[in-house]
Structure formats: structure tokens, C-alpha cells
């Protein structure tokens, strides 16, 4: 980017500056520490100059917004045309309560829905299973049958709003589609995202109701089905977020998410699909942690790396296939129980990093999430955080304002390089599924997590209120904590039993049998799943049908390495 003779002059001037200005100062006033690092361990230099990006080619490596390799964002106008989607995770107590909260947030200016389900629903258990006692509606909304989806979405226009569904596999999406069908909405009018990345779920929250490979195949069924029938829907979102929450570094976060995306891409191509048929609808979700610049650079690096993988590795020709579109959630694991109001400030900085990194949609955590589900007040404050960044700060008025910063471009390069190296190792192991089965990915994450906590303990990483600036009476929480009334669980169980009592049992039984046959024969599962859902099959009934056909999955204990 700079002329050779110009660089030489800069180098000479830098050495002069070091000798005449820096060194005398350093002797009198040494720096705070000998070496500085980003949170993930990248060395940070005192000062960056054009020398640090000497080898860069603006047109090749950075270029314009909305133009390959998309380092500066996927839209030519950035947020000048349209702001990011403000999308807060919602799900609590019962479908009825969740519907109320969704409508409240829409009324407060939220622009997309983001529905999270309780533990029983996430694990495909019904609310009335004795194992679920005490967990119904506590960490999300229960959704056992089509009836629950009907209530969650009551009086919400499914054609107007885009909906993110934090669930994997065909079940909950089938409920959403069946509801649209009932309302007479054509599938091509539906916009939204299904999380559906079972690979990242497997090694971050150790979940797989069937074997890893079967789960992988079923979620690929959803992608295949949506490409044919629900064209504007993002049928999968590769989740770096959870990887980071489990303790990974920034580069691992994007490398493992991209590794998962590569695995699905290969699977879909092996089914005879063309990469350009489905790649434009693949989406991603990342984390934004505390280290401001590292997070911005991580997002820029991820975008460029994916564009290159799509073009160079998979030969994608449609420019839309090269775009990495992503949602960001600020880092839940960064929130502290000590002095919880500080979490608003942390979240603000993380959200700003996400915006400067060019996110397409954003969830900001509420200050009370270190204790439980957000109260209405805390959720509104989290939404306001985004609105202040969007409407007051002015950062959305120019596209990728940090481009060209010697530090930002250099760190973007370093993170891309590190992530590329991790992906190379995954390839060597035979791809993401094999790397997971070997336990390698899990071990790498645990190692990074332990390293982070070692630094926290030794004081190399400062967390305000935890290992610095602590207060005597931290245990007193000055914020309201949302309590879920146990009566909600009883209500949900009652509703579920009522649905079960009024179904056409013959139709239900037939639909479940068809699902089993399709699963066993490795036929795409979505059509028979839709039929089961329309017959008001419960999640647990569908899970058991699948497990009968395919066998049950096992917990990955590889990750427990001490």
C-alpha cells in the first residue's frame, strides 16, 4: 500500500524516534508491563506504522464494502442504508408469557425476533416428563407441540418480522412452517434463521439426541428442504458464539465455526447440490468479548476468510455465496455477578465492537443474566444500548471506519492467518466431524479456557469487580432478578395434556411411523416431520421415534480433561 522508498523513510524515522524520543522516556518512566497481549494472546506492539501493513494490497485484501473479499462488510452502504437488526433473545415461563414479552420488545423498537427455548425443549423432552420438573420455562420458552408455537406467535405478523429460532434439527422449524401454512402464508414470504448447527452444540453443550453423524445428517436435511421450499430462510447458522463461551480464543471461535460450515458445505455438495444453490443462505453467529480491537478484527478476518474459502476452495461463482452474514451476541461469559450494573458498560463496549466489525444483527445481554433470565427492565436497557449506538454515537454513518488503521489491518491479518492454520489442521484430521469424534476440538477449547482462567487468576487479565476494584459488599445485588412463578410450569403441563387428549391418534401414529421409516432409510426427514407436527405430535414423541430408528446419542465426555 506504500511505496518502497516511502517505507524506507518511515523505518528510518521510526528508529530515530525510538532513539531520541522513546528510549529516554522509557528509562525514566517504564511502561506498565513488559509485554502487552490481546485477550486471546496476540502480542500487541507499542505502536503500529505503515511498515506493519507493508505487504498489503488494498484491492486484493481490503477493497470496498460490499466487494470481494468483503473485509469492509457485505453491504456497499454499510449501515447508512439500513441499521443492523436489533434482535434480543426472548423466551420465558410459558408460550403465553413469551408472546407478551415479544410484543413488548417489538413495541419498544426491536426489529427482529430471537426465540430461545427452555432446557427440556432444547433437549427434546416434553414439559410433563418427570425429568423436567423445575426446568420448564426457566431458561427459555417451552414449546412441545404446534399449539405452543401458535401461542408464541399469536398476533405477530410472520410475514413482517424475521425470526431467529435457537434450536437444531427439523422439529421447531416444522412447527413454525406448519403455523405459517395454517395462516395461509406462503413459505417464500418467511424470513429468519434456524440455528441448527449440531456440530458446535455437540462440543460446547455436549448435546446430540442421536449420534453425531446422524444429527449432522438430519440438520443437513433441513438445509436441503429449505433451499427448495423456504427460499428466504437461513436454514443454518454456524455458531462461533458457543465455542467462545466454552472458553476458546478469538481465532478458534471463527476457525471452528468455519470448520463446521465447511463440513456442511461438503455434505450438501455430496448430496448433489451446487454450492451456489445453498451458500447464499448459510449464516453465522459470533461472540463479542471484552478485547475491543481483537473482536473487531476477528469479525473482519472471518468475513475475508469465508469469502476466500467459498471462492477458492469451493469454486463458488455467485457473489452472494462469498458473503459471510452474521449475528453477534455480546459475551454472556464476560458478565460478572459482582457489581452487576457494570455489565451494562461491558455490553456497550462489546456491542460497539460488533457494530464496528459490521454485524448484520445483534443481541445485547442484559445486566442480570449472570443470575437468570432478563427482567423486562434489564431487557429494555439492553435494547436501549443498541439504540444509543445506532442513533446517538454517529458510528453508523460511515462504512467500516477503522479500515486502514495500521493496527486494525495488521491484527485482522494475524487472526485470519491463525484461523486458517487451525482449519488446515482440521482438514488434516479428515474434517470437522472427524476432529470432533477424535476429541481434538474439545481439548483445544478446554486448554484455551484453562489458560484464560490462569491469566485471570494471576492478574494478567483484569476484570473490574472480580480481581480488581472489588467491594466488600459485592454479594448484595442491587438489581431486580426475574423469578419464574412455578405456577407457569403447572399451566404448561396442563396445556400439553389437553393437546394430547384431543388429537387424532390414528393420524398421529401414522405420521410418527412415517418419520421412523424415513429416518431409517436416510430419506429427507422434514416432510414427515411436518406431517407429525400437524398431527400435534410432541417433541418427545418425535425424538423417541428418531431414536428408535437411529439409536440414541451419547454424551461426549472427551471434553472433561483435567
Amino acid at each position: 500500500m506504500f511505496r518502497e522508498d516511502h517505507l524506507e523513510a518511515i523505518g528510518k524515522a521510526r528508529r530515530e524516534w525510538e532513539f531520541t524520543v522513546l528510549n529516554p522516556i522509557m528509562e525514566r518512566w517504564p511502561e506498565r508491563r513488559e509485554n502487552f497481549y490481546t485477550q486471546s494472546g496476540h502480542p500487541v506492539k507499542r505502536v503500529y506504522t505503515p511498515e506493519d501493513i507493508a505487504g498489503k494490497d488494498y484491492l486484493e485484501d481490503i477493497s470496498f464494502p460490499g466487494y470481494y473479499p468483503f473485509t469492509r462488510g457485505v453491504f456497499p452502504t454499510g449501515y447508512r442504508g439500513r441499521l443492523w437488526t436489533r434482535r434480543l433473545i426472548t423466551g420465558l415461563a410459558t408460550p403465553e408469557e413469551t408472546n407478551k414479552r415479544l410484543k413488548y420488545l417489538i413495541q419498544q423498537g426491536q426489529t427482529g425476533l430471537n426465540i430461545i427455548f427452555d432446557n427440556p425443549t432444547t433437549n427434546l423432552f416434553d414439559s410433563d416428563n418427570p425429568l423436567c420438573e423445575g426446568e420448564v420455562g426457566r431458561d427459555g420458552v417451552p414449546c412441545c407441540t404446534l399449539r405452543d408455537m401458535e401461542v408464541i406467535m399469536e398476533d405477530i405478523d410472520m410475514q413482517e418480522v424475521s425470526t431467529s429460532i435457537i434450536h437444531s434439527g427439523p422439529f421447531i422449524l416444522s412447527m413454525y412452517l406448519a403455523l405459517a401454512e395454517k395462516r395461509g402464508i406462503p413459505f417464500d414470504r418467511l424470513r429468519g434463521t434456524l440455528q441448527n448447527d449440531v456440530l458446535s452444540q455437540y462440543y460446547t453443550v455436549n448435546m446430540s439426541v442421536v449420534s453425531l453423524r446422524d444429527g449432522f445428517r438430519l440438520s443437513a436435511d433441513v438445509v436441503e428442504y429449505c433451499r427448495k421450499h423456504v427460499p428466504r430462510w437461513n436454514p443454518i447458522s454456524f455458531v462461533g458464539y458457543q465455542i467462545r463461551e466454552a472458553g476458546s480464543t478469538a481465532a478458534q471461535e471463527i476457525a471452528f465455526a468455519l470448520g463446521s460450515a465447511i463440513a456442511y458445505t461438503e455434505e450438501l455438495i455430496s448430496r448433489g447440490m451446487e454450492v451456489d444453490d445453498f451458500a447464499p443462505r448459510l449464516s453465522f453467529m459470533f461472540n463479542c468479548h471484552n478485547d475491543f480491537f481483537e473482536e473487531i478484527c476477528k469479525l473482519r478476518a472471518a468475513r475475508r476468510l469465508w469469502a476466500r474459502i467459498m471462492k477458492e476452495r469451493f469454486g463458488a461463482k455467485n457473489p452472494l455465496s462469498w458473503l459471510l452474514r452474521f449475528h453477534v451476541q455480546t459475551a454472556g461469559s464476560s458478565l460478572t455477578a459482582q457489581q452487576p450494573v457494570n455489565n451494562v458498560i461491558r455490553t456497550t463496549i462489546q456491542a460497539l465492537a460488533a457494530v464496528l466489525g459490521g454485524t448484520n444483527s445483534l443481541h445485547t445481554n442484559s445486566m442480570d443474566e449472570c443470575y437468570g433470565l432478563p427482567s423486562e427492565f434489564a431487557a429494555r436497557t439492553a435494547l436501549r444500548t443498541q439504540q444509543i449506538i445506532a442513533y446517538e454515537s454517529g458510528v453508523a454513518n460511515t462504512v467500516d471506519p477503522l479500515a486502514g488503521s495500521y493496527f486494525v489491518e495488521r491484527l485482522t491479518d494475524e487472526i485470519e492467518e491463525e484461523a486458517r492454520e487451525i482449519i488446515r489442521k482440521i482438514d488434516e484430521m479428515g474434517g470437522m466431524v472427524a476432529a470432533l469424534e477424535a476429541g481434538w476440538v474439545q481439548r483445544e477449547i478446554v486448554r484455551a479456557s484453562n489458560e484464560y482462567h490462569r491469566k485471570l487468576k494471576s492478574g494478567e487479565i483484569t476484570v473490574v469487580g472480580v480481581n480488581a476494584f472489588t467491594e466488600e459488599d459485592d454479594e448484595e445485588v442491587p438489581i431486580e432478578i426475574l423469578r419464574i412463578d412455578p405456577a407457569h410450569e403447572a399451566h404448561q403441563v396442563r396445556m400439553l395434556r389437553e393437546v394430547k387428549a384431543h388429537r387424532d391418534q390414528g393420524k398421529l401414529w401414522e405420521a410418527l411411523e412415517r418419520m421412523k421409516e424415513d429416518a431409517a432409510a436416510h430419506r429427507n426427514i422434514v416432510p414427515s416431520c411436518m406431517e407429525a407436527v400437524k398431527a400435534y405430535a410432541t417433541l418427545e414423541e418425535m425424538r423417541l421415534a428418531l431414536q428408535e430408528a437411529l439409536g440414541a446419542g451419547k454424551e461426549s465426555k472427551d471434553a472433561f480433561i483435567c
Binding site: 426457566r138 431458561d139 479456557s449 484453562n450 472433561f560 480433561i561 483435567c562
Partner: protein
């Protein structure tokens, strides 16, 4: 006098969620401190806690829970341990996302220690050691 047997701890996660970063860290810290850690896995039931505690002959039981179901699940585990002669005196420690008022209630119930978010690993190690010590004396 023969070599003293190391402290044995059963660690497991109760409830349906699979978030295990916290229990991993605690497990590593206890092992680094010279203890033997038996990992019971995810979704452990009250009956399984009792069975594994007896089978593995542990000194302390640590249950981690992230889920909002904690005030249902932990009392169930505690009761199951109380109802069995062999595990009645075994100290039960809880870790995870625990609001302070719930922590108080759990302690009143007989849970020996509750370590919520932001707990110090050294404190946990010392606490487990003191629990195991008071048991053997």
C-alpha cells in the same frame, strides 16, 4: 503410619443443560490440588448421585447446575442423599448460576457450600479440603 489416601470428590452436572465450562475448571483445580476427581457426567439424577457416591467412595459431592431448575433439582438430590444411610453424612456442595437468595436457602437446607458465578477457585479447594478433613476426623 501408611500413606494418606487422597481426597475423593464426585463432580457432576444436574439438570438438562450441558454447559460444563465451570465444572471443568473446578475439576482441574481440585486435581491440581492433589485430589481425585470422579466425573459423573451430565444430567445426573438423584439416584445416580447416591449410587456413584457409594460406589466411588467419595468424601465430597459437588453438583454444578446452570439451569433455572436448581431449587427443584438440588433439594431432590439432597433428600435422596439423606434417605440413604451411606450418603447421609456426605457433604454436598453446589456450584453454578445461583442467585444469592437461593444460595441462602440452600445452605439453610443443609447444603454445605454454594459457589455462584465469580467464585474463587482457591476458596473452593480450601473449602473441599476442610469438608473432607472434618469428615475423616
Amino acid at each position: 503410619m501408611g500413606e494418606k489416601r487422597p481426597i475423593r470428590v464426585l463432580l457432576a452436572k444436574a439438570g438438562l443443560d450441558g454447559h460444563n465450562r465451570g465444572i471443568q475448571l473446578v475439576g482441574k483445580a481440585l486435581r491440581d490440588a492433589g485430589m481425585e476427581v470422579v466425573y459423573g457426567g451430565l444430567r445426573i439424577t438423584p439416584r445416580e448421585v447416591v449410587e456413584m457416591s457409594i460406589q466411588e467412595d467419595v468424601d465430597v459431592v459437588g453438583i454444578s447446575i446452570f439451569s433455572g431448575g436448581l431449587m427443584t433439582i438440588i433439594p431432590k438430590i439432597y433428600r435422596a442423599m439423606q434417605e440413604n444411610e451411606a450418603t447421609r453424612d456426605l457433604p454436598l456442595v453446589v456450584g453454578g448460576i445461583v442467585p444469592p437468595s437461593d444460595a441462602e436457602e440452600l445452605k439453610r437446607m443443609g447444603i454445605k457450600g454454594v459457589f455462584g458465578p465469580g467464585s474463587d477457585l482457591d476458596e473452593i479447594i480450601d473449602f473441599v479440603r476442610s469438608l473432607a478433613g472434618s469428615r475423616s476426623s
